[in-house]
Amino acid sequence: MKRREILKRAGIVAAAAVAGPFFHVRPARADKGDLVVVSWGGDYDQALRDFVFPAFEKATGYTVKLDAPPETAKVKAMVQSGNVSWDVIMTDTPAVQALVKDSLLEPLDYAVIDKAKLGRIPRELQQQYALGQRIYSFNIVYNTNSMPKAKHPRNWAEVWDAKNFPGGRTFNFQGGIAPQLEAALLADGVPVDKLYPLDVERAWRMMDKLKPIVAKWYTSHAQAIQLLSAGEASVGNTIGPRGITAKKAGAPVDVEYNQGKLASDNWCLVKGVRNKKVAMEFINTALDPKMQASIAQKVPYGPSNTGAFEFLSAQDAADLTTSPENIKQQFWWNTDWWSAPGPDGKSPREAQGERFAKWMINS
């Protein structure tokens, strides 16, 4: 009998726990006071919360709700089902291209953005459907225990050279821009200014040479950093700013900026966004140079508004991939080449992506 009592009490507690705000149903179109912003989560979201949200909420009276991650499939499902609940998303350029192809984004209203800000943002980052918020780069990231600063790969050719630089490599299989054909071509000696249009077959021949020395084809950049920190891989092609964050936290990794590939994470509006003007206001707030500087101090991504550098110390700036020292060693990922539709309607992003998957499976 004692056991029955205990079970009964446990049942009551469980019932109480269960009877929480259960049937809270959100209305399909949010109340006037809401703006849903979607980003990548983690420290960057925290920085947005700390700096951008309060300023925006104070200025407009709207509350910001944060969601993560900006899964493109969810955007597509949202738009196709007619039930759009995301307003502003921040995502990378390949995702933007995929979304634009299926007409899932709303064109941006540049009239709402301050001219002064636009003047300091690189022109390539100002597109019809996307406005750059932060700049990152694919760099040579290496483990300092197995590849000390004195003798680490300084270009992609040396990354391909396992004899002089032994150790496992890690490249991305999924995770934004893939495959890394530019790195392959650079490793084969193609000069940076002659990269585009890419000689695809030549690049794949180099990829064939890379395959045997890859320890793991990572599926998320966080995983890449983890592998490099733990020494499971000695050098990899991954996001430089993440490497810097790990380095600052004490991990034995470092970043080589030579031959790095620059790309941007961008603000976009989901098609059918509820209040376009307010959404653009939010983006306008996030582009403020002082705001971007504060964020960059916390999370070392390059601010899209170069005016932010005026608010950063030399030391903070040195860590950023877009500092004058670092940016001059790198090249921009050519979004036009990658998104241009081929004769069969598929862009290189799609065609090479598919080819990559098949290449991987058939190994």
Partner: protein
Amino acid sequence: MTGARVALWALCTLVMMFLIAPIIVIVITSFNGTPYMDFPPKSLSLRWYANFFSSAHWYDTALLSLRVALLTMVAATVLGTSAAIGIVRGTFPGRRALEAFFISPMVVPIVVVALGFYFLFSRYHLLDTTLGLFLGHTVIATPLVIVMVRAALRTTNPAMELAARSLGADFWRSLRYVTLPSIKATIVAAAAFAFLISFDDVVIAIFVAGPDTTTLPKRMWETIRFEIDPTLTAIASLLTLVAVIVLVGVELMRRGSSERVE
């Protein structure tokens, strides 16, 4: 003990070590003093635990996951047990096809199922609600219950129920006092599994949850995908502790009863 018995114990001990080893690694890592995870930790600290408890975000998501999992456990167990009994003991035609239908959510890749849910829930405004999550999880947890209960039912003897009924018990009584008790252990195990399937689900949560209904695994997935936060190990260790407490408690309670082998 015979030689065979010793060998059996030796093998099982190795298996247990295999099962427990990662848990120990995780618990040790949760006390790591540095923000990036290395092993063995060079310094110890309680910061990740503090981080979890002080962060409303982690705390709320854990509570939500718990709620949804409890609801799913009840629903999946009730639906699954009744369906299994119906299939095994029933006489209507097409039972095997029905059984395959009931089990199919386990076979269809979960990411496809999740996408399907997205469209369905979107239509009825169930996205970003606890109810939506609960429904989705129940669909994927019920097949598990069915498979387990069905196996147990097939080893029990229907003659007992017939006997009970010929003695005057009606349908519900024979169900309650004869059928169910004979498979009680399996039902409890199936319920626990259903709970865990819901609690640990990532994929359905990614599609069906939203800013107001972030579950623990969804938050962990975001964290792992985009940054690796050692708070995860603290959470995992806490969950393990809770599991140990609950399991030990349940077993201690069982000691009080005079049940056989279950």
